[in-house]
């Protein structure tokens, strides 16, 4: 019984109505009752115009002066089939004159309109909320399913298709669910009320209206059947398109290296063509149906006017009745049309729903219990892995692993060697629970691996694959990802935040979502073997040292920026380091290696533009990335009359460059050294120089001036050595610097932060803040010397850890693309190490590194895999390089999916078998 119930709870109903009913029974009934409640006022609002026209306006009952009408008389009479009775008067009403009666009735009419509107408003809001909740539930359930798919399923699904299903395709389903039960009842009720009303006024007119409605109801769904099929196709093709586009983006390098971009264009064009033809047919048919609908709707009033008019003329119907009928009829096509629309939507959504849920029903879905949240301390993994007759085959039936039996004690350091895909990789994947076994068993002590909850294996086993997947975020986020098992320390909320959080929880429950707080502290300090955040940073440093990544992280930190307002103490410490560094740099041998920025002196080692702007800014200032700043720079230059000097200087630079580079073929390596212009610009400047031959600054065009002046911006005398600078020019440039600074327009003041030896520059990197200056060109070993001096000063000022923390904030980009593949692999290894796994599985990771680095990291990891009490933690390493197997306690040799040798490396070498061959 229990299992039956479970299954029911966790599978998606095959029908969208069942799904909606299952989760929204109560709400649907509630909103239905509101709809029914709204019907009487709706009917009254229909009835009232007749009374107004017939009563006060036409004068029925007011035929003689002083006559009074009864207003607000409420009486109830039993229907005939209950025996009938005299009306029982509940409220006798007021006696009113003709004009007050009109005003009174109209006021009631207004009141009814408002009440109806409010009913509609409430019902729509309620429905909308219901729909949104169901959408949330459905999406959550789909994502939950993706998290529980067995891993091999991911080989055949395209990520972009899944995301398009979760994001786009379910959207109309959610919207529909709000309408699923209410709309037919509401609209049907309205239509029936209107019909009944017409019937009561005139049986024949009612019959006509009813007849036409019937035609609509029968004919139009038939016409729309093809529309549904087209809709289904549209959904499929759109989904495939998004899958294909995703594939294209991921495989863009293959497109470029194979020159297949045009094949891809053709492919895209043919897909889009197919989608176009589907959509075109779809809307053609849609508009035809619309036309038919409109036509039928308009035919009815035609009949009404004709027949109704005839009845009115012949006196069988009074004018008031006719107007009321027409007014009622105006309300009839609306609901009918909407009802037909609803039916249409129903079919459409049914198709969509089953299309989506089909994709999310897969075999062997993980039991949710395996992924349950656990806050408890998770005990050690166990004593040993035991594997017996383990066989794994892929979908094509190829044996990836062929009856392997062995026992691996948890504390052992084991290497698996063998050629690529000889079974070691599969074996590691099985132990990491990424592959299901086809036959045989894999157990930890007495428990089958497959039945173990993920909170046991996921916290006590570390796994590092060859193809690392990093998430978008910082280095730190990725590193600590493996520790985020549960919201261990809830966040405390106060006041408004607390209310908001409670609301969030309630809403999550309403949609069947989980209510775990993403803003809580999810990090499992205990797994990492630390007490608090500071301990964690130390730990982080430790594991990054093990994988030789600390240096890179420090570099990220030095290149990163900090906000001095948020971290005033750190900024202050960096300033102290800057002063200390400055002191040392003034002494030999450093003095000639660096030129510090001095607001009162020209910096020879910096470009002319840098010297005038003398600050850092948003965007890339050096390459003219910030147009507004450069426009202002030109303005300052002309105020200082410097533009004519720089114009001549630019002319000289251009002619030198052209003389040197003009006859080099494009792509020549020498162009890399050319910083003034690109190879493509050389001919343009050639033309420019010819045009300006003998033309002075005064006669030249503004654009030509700018083009030449621009060349001088990147000029650095010690680097380019063209002998173009002298002291007089430097002095004038310094004057320009002051002008630039003092008259900076307000709109640029947020774009630039000037260099100042006494303040922290929040736009510049940490390193630029420590070394507020430039490393000199042409001093052999200068850069390395200065960089190591900076490191030394950092260490002396206890800044190492803090800059390391800044480095942890480095964004890795999508999929970690801003890191090199070596850095990614190291980071993945560090991520596995930081949770101190009882058993670390490394599956051909680190292959992006050279052999010495691999060996060093391997040594580090083996040395690191010890508990505090000195006992060993286990390691299983699938090696790319068999020779490294000698460093392990035990080696498994795989060949053609079988385990062929097993033993201590020295023993295996002595045996002179496969291992000896691989190592030789």
């Amino acid at each position: 019984m229990a299992t039956e119930k479970q299954k029911d709870d966790y599978s998606l109903p095959e029908n969208v109505f069942k799904f909606a009913w299952k989760h929204t029974k109560k709400q649907q009934i509630w909103v239905l009752s509101i709809v029914l409640l709204s019907m009487p006022t709706y009917f009254m609002a229909l009835d009232l115009p007749k009374r107004i026209v017939n009563g006060p306006i036409s004068g029925q009952g007011f035929e003689f002066a002083g006559a009074k009408g009864t207003f607000l008389n409420i009486s109830v009479s039993l229907p005939d089939w209950l025996g009938g009775s005299e009306p029982i008067e509940l409220f006798s009403g007021f006696q009113l004159d003709r004009l007050p009666m009109l005003i009174g009735l109209c006021t009631v009419f207004l009141g009814l309109v408002i009440i109806n509107g409010l009913f509609k408003f409430y019902i729509n809001t309620y429905k909308g909320r219901l729909g949104e909740r169901m959408l949330r539930r459905l999406r959550y359930e789909l994502i939950d399913r993706v998290l529980r798919f067995p891993i091999p399923v991911f080989k055949r699904i395209k990520p972009a298709e899944v995301s398009s299903m979760v994001k786009d395709e379910v959207e109309p389903i959610g919207g529909f669910i709000g309408d699923a039960f209410v709309t037919p009842v509401f609209l049907g009720g309205q239509a029936i009320t209107a019909m009944a009303f017409i019937m009561m006024q005139s049986f024949w007119l009612g019959l006509i209206a009813g007849g036409i409605v019937l035609v609509q109801a029968i004919l139009i769904p038939r016409l729309r059947r093809r529309l549904i099929e087209l809709g289904r196709q549209r959904q499929l093709t759109a989904r495939q398109l998004s899958g294909r586009v995703g594939e294209l983006v991921e495989g863009i390098s293959s497109v470029h290296v194979n020159d297949t971009s045009n094949y891809e264009r053709a492919e895209a064009s043919s897909r889009l063509g197919k989608i176009f033809s589907i959509r075109y047919e779809l809307f053609q048919r849609k508009f035809f149906v619309k036309f038919l609908n409109n036509f039928l709707a308009q035919v009815t009033p035609f009949l009404f006017y004709l027949l109704g008019g005839y009845y009115a003329i012949t006196g069988r119907l009074d004018i008031g009745q006719l107007i009321a009928v027409i007014a009622a009829y105006k309300d009839l096509p609306g609901p009918i049309k909407d009802l037909i629309n609803w039916d249409q939507q129903r079919l459409d959504v049914q198709v969509k729903y089953s299309q989506v849920t089909d994709q999310f029903h897969v075999e062997d879905m993980l039991d949710p219990l395996l992924q349950s949240v656990t806050f408890d301390k998770v005990g050690p993994l166990g004593e040993k892995f035991s594997v017996s007759s383990l066989t794994v085959t892929d979908d094509s039936g190829t044996r990836l692993l062929d009856s392997v039996s062995t026992i691996l004690p948890i504390h052992e350091h084991v290497a698996i060697v063998g050629s690529l895909n000889s079974g070691g990789e599969t074996f590691a994947d099985v132990l990491a629970r990424l592959l299901p076994t086809t036959a045989g068993r894999a157990k930890i002590d007495a428990d089958d691996l497959e039945n173990l909850p993920q909170w046991r294996t996921g916290r006590r086993i570390g796994y590092v694959p060859a193809d690392v997947s990093l998430f978008y975020g910082t280095v730190g986020d990725n590193l600590l990802y493996g520790l985020k098992h549960a919201p261990f320390r809830p966040r405390e909320y106060q006041g408004e935040d607390k209310k908001r959080r409670l609301w969030e929880i309630a809403e999550a429950h309403n949609s069947g979502n989980c209510d775990l707080d993403i803003n809580a502290d999810w990090i499992d300090y205990e797994s990492a073997g630390v007490e608090d955040y500071n301990g964690l940073i130390n730990k982080t440093m430790q594991v990054l040292n093990v994988v030789n990544l600390t240096g890179d992280i420090m570099n990220f930190g030095l290149r990163g920026t900090i906000d001095p307002a948020a971290k005033p103490q750190l900024a202050e410490k960096i300033m102290t380091a800057r002063r200390e560094l400055g002191k040392r740099l003034s002494e030999e041998p450093y003095a000639e290696m660096v030129e510090l920025f001095d607001p009162e002196a020209y910096t020879n080692q910096a470009t002319i533009a840098e010297n005038i702007i003398f600050g850092t800014g948003s965007g890339n200032l050096e390459n003219g990335g910030n147009k507004a700043v450069y426009a202002y720079l030109h303005k300052v230059l002309s105020e200082e009359n410097l533009d004519r000097d720089l114009f001549e200087m630019g002319r000289e630079i251009a002619s030198t460059v052209i003389e040197l580079f003009a006859d080099l073929p494009p792509g020549h390596p020498f162009f890399e050294q050319l910083s003034f212009m690109t190879a493509e610009e050389i001919p343009e400047y050639q033309v420019l120089l010819n045009r300006l031959k003998g033309v002075g600054f005064e006669q030249s065009k503004p654009q030509d001036r700018k083009d030449l002046v621009r060349l001088t911006f990147s000029y650095i005398e010690p680097r380019h050595r063209l002998g173009l600078m002298d002291e007089a020019l430097c002095a004038r440039l310094m004057h320009a610097r002051r002008n630039f600074r003092d008259n900076l327009p307000d709109d640029l003041s947020n774009e630039i932060e000037f260099y100042d030896p006494d303040t922290y520059n929040s736009m510049a990197s940490v390193q630029d803040n420590i070394l507020l200056g430039r490393i000199a060109y042409g001093v052999a070993g200068g850069k390395d010397t200065i960089l190591s001096l900076i490191r030394q000063v950092l260490d002396e000022h206890d800044l190492h850890d803090e800059i390391f923390t800044v480095g942890l904030d480095y964004e890795v980009g999508t999929g970690g693309k801003r890191l090199t593949s070596g850095q990614r692999q190291k980071l993945a290894l560090a991520r596995a190490l930081i949770k101190q796994p009882d058993y670390l599985i490394v599956n051909r990771a680190l292959v992006a590194l050279d052999r010495p680095s691999q060996e060093q990291i391997l040594e580090n990891v083996l040395a690191y895999s010890k508990n505090e009490d000195g006992s060993e933690r286990g390691v299983l390493w699938v090696l790319a390089n068999p020779a490294m197997g000698k460093r392990f306690d035990r080696v498994l040799v795989m060949k053609e999916a079988r385990l062929v040798e097993d033993g201590a490396p020295s023993e295996l070498v002595r045996k002179n078998g496969e291992f000896a061959k691989l190592v030789a």
Partner: protein
């Protein structure tokens, strides 16, 4: 200036100017290494002024095998043959040198056969010298043994 370097004497002055422009002028302090034995070679150097010792390290001992000065080209073997540096070159005085990037150097040789011939001549010259020294050394050894 570069014209005085034998290796470049045959090359068009305009191209030498280009080479000078695209190369980096470096200053070395006395005692600083221009290149280290065993490192990979990423550049060749032309000494502009100053002196340097060519040192070969063997079994922990450093043996000075030659002294080079103005206009000498050093480090071209590692660049040409893609082998690690065969010797350490250490500045003995303050020394200025033009650092020619490996790519640029190879490109020059490809573009100017005169330069290739000059490089060959230089290498052959050194080989002759080395062979002579080797013969001498063997004879010395024989005498010592005999």
């Amino acid at each position: 200036m570069l014209r005085r370097v034998p290796l470049f004497s045959q090359i068009d002055p305009a191209k030498l100017k280009l080479l000078a422009f695209t190369s980096e002028r470096m200053t070395f302090q006395a005692g600083q290494d221009l290149c280290k034995q065993g490192d990979s070679g990423d550049a060749a150097y032309v000494i502009i002024n100053g002196d340097a010792d060519v040192i070969v390290e063997q079994g922990g001992n450093e043996i000075v095998v030659a002294r080079v000065s103005e206009n000498a080209v050093i480090g071209e073997i590692a660049v040409l043959c893609e082998i690690p540096r065969t010797a350490t070159v250490r500045a003995m005085t303050r020394l200025d040198a033009l650092r020619i990037d490996k790519e640029h150097f190879l490109r020059l040789i490809r573009e100017f056969p005169e330069m290739a011939v000059e490089v060959m001549r230089e290498l052959a010259d050194r080989l002759t010298k080395t062979t002579a020294e080797l013969t001498q050394a063997r004879n010395d050894l024989k005498e010592l043994a005999g």
